[in-house]
């Protein structure tokens, strides 16, 4: 499949990339590993006349236990023994992404900023044309929730839930300078499947910072999907906890694959603090989260089932942290 023509830019530094983004405001895409953007370009989804390739910018490629550059390939995370030892849940999530061939190119930053997905969006031009297109690309209506004027496309990255449970921060660079914000604030809880982040125009995600305390948390990730490889999450549950003896000091759960942005559930997990992580306690957290999530009918698996599985996966993930049997 040939792509429509665009101009390709190869900045050598972050500053150059920011300048190119400023010059082509509103008319460009950043290209990281290409495993998300190029399939979408092949299907004529929201093409831009300028593509700014971030490959080769050293600042974005460096990675260690405290900071992971946004252009770090997922295969490099897998191959970094120190990273894997520090954050076992991150390694679990990375290994669940797509396939080894995709992970050889796909990047950490690309996974955090993955385009949202929907059954009515990720389709060929021919298929979408026959249905009159949709809000997210070329059309003016949503086929998932037709009476609404917002987009329900689902956030389908696997890494964000794990990073959220580790309280990660993100480094951003843009025309107005550099800033660092909590990852949770990069996603727009009041946005939709189209306006899904609070990145400013032209801003680049440079890297992920993990706080020193993150290494004392146990982490795990559980993913629901149709096939055991390639597929995007229909539900992705990250759980993390710190223990004080046999009691939980603090526990966190974050979920992707259900709504337009990855979400943390602090009030649903708060009751675990100071308690033993029993089957009943884990089950209660799962039920509270299940009552709160709002998946819609826009992926391969029905929303009711994904909702039910949210309770099951949260319970299993929490029990895995306690070392208990995954029931």
């Amino acid at each position: 499949m040939h792509l429509d023509p665009f101009e390709l830019h190869r900045p050598a530094t972050v500053d150059e990339a920011v300048e190119m983004a400023r010059r082509h405001a509103g008319a460009f895409d950043f290209l990281a590993g290409g495993t998300d953007l190029l399939p979408n370009y092949k299907m004529h989804l929201n093409l831009r006349p300028h593509v700014i390739a971030l490959e080769g910018i050293r600042e974005l490629e460096e990675h260690g236990v405290e900071r992971i550059g946004a252009m770090t390939r997922l295969a490099e995370v897998e191959g970094d023994a120190a990273l894997a030892a520090a954050y076992p849940g991150l390694l679990e999530a990375v290994r669940e992404v797509a396939t080894p061939l995709v992970r050889a190119s796909a990047t950490v930053g690309g996974n955090l900023l993955l385009e949202t997905r929907c059954f009515f969006f990720n389709q060929s031009e021919f298929w979408r044309h026959s249905l009159g297109y949709c809000l997210k690309a070329d059309g003016d209506r949503c086929h998932v929730v037709p009476q609404k004027e917002k987009c329900y496309a689902t956030f389908s990255g696997d890494l964000a839930p794990v990073f959220l449970t580790l309280d990660a921060r993100v480094e951003l660079a843009g025309p107005e300078g550099r800033r660092e914000i909590p990852l949770a604030e990069m996603y727009d809880a009041h946005g939709d499947g189209i306006h899904r982040t609070k990145l400013r125009p032209g801003e680049i995600l440079c890297g992920v910072r993990l706080p020193p305390g993150a290494r004392s948390w146990r982490t795990t990730y559980r993913k629901l999907r149709l096939r055991p490889s390639f597929d995007f999450p229909e539900l992705g549950v990250a759980a993390a906890a710190r223990f004080d003896g046999d009691r939980v000091a603090e526990a966190r759960v974050a979920i992707g694959g259900l709504e337009t942005y990855p979400t943390s559930y602090p009030s649903e997990t708060a009751a675990l603090a100071g308690e033993r992580l029993t089957e009943a306690a884990a089950r209660a957290v799962g039920e509270r989260i299940r009552a709160k999530v709002r998946p819609v009918r826009n992926t391969a698996i029905a929303p009711d089932y994904r909702k039910k599985m949210a309770a099951v996966f949260v319970r299993r993930a929490l029990l895995a942290l306690s070392g208990g049997a995954a029931a």
Binding site: F6, P100, L101
Partner: protein
């Protein structure tokens, strides 16, 4: 816009070829360089038929802009074979009947070549993980995994 020709190495030989920015590496290899051993399957990164090595790293050529191969070494299935005959891994594929229709074979051989280079004695589970991004629609996986294991064991 005038573009300088793309300069890179393919299977050990320097190449210089006109290449617009939007050209996909798979299309360049097959249509411009006539290296048709690399197959176009899904064209969206799912099937692994188009895998090549870029500086030794297995890569989906259908999801790679050719211009990003500037200055790099690309190895296709044609470059994996010695000038005469087959590589030991390719011979094992033949001997184990690990090719049925043969369409997915180049991608499997590329993925397995990289695996055996980095992990000369992989376990069965490691082999299965390494080729998890390659689809065989004839479903000949057992023989493929056995061919890779047999190569590792030198039989």
């Amino acid at each position: 816009m005038a573009w300088t020709p793309l300069r890179f190495r393919v299977n050990g030989h320097p190449r210089e070829i006109p290449c617009p920015p939007e050209r996909i590496l798979l299309d360049l290899l097959r249509e411009d360089l006539e290296l048709t051993g690399t197959k176009r399957g899904c064209d969206l990164g799912t099937c692994g038929c188009c895998a090549v090595l870029i500086d030794g790293r297995p890569t989906l050529s259908c999801l790679t802009l050719a211009r990003l191969a500037e200055g790099r070494e690309v190895t296709t299935i044609e470059g994996v074979s010695p000038p005469q005959g087959l590589s030991p891994l390719q011979r094992a594929f033949v001997e184990h009947g690990a090719t049925q229709c043969g369409f997915c074979t180049p991608g499997f051989v590329i993925a397995a070549t990289a695996l055996l280079r980095d992990h000369p004695r992989p376990s069965r589970a490691e082999v299965e993980r390494a080729v998890a991004g390659n689809l065989c629609r004839c479903t000949g996986y057992t023989k493929i995994v056995e061919a890779i294991l047999a190569t590792a064991e030198g039989r």
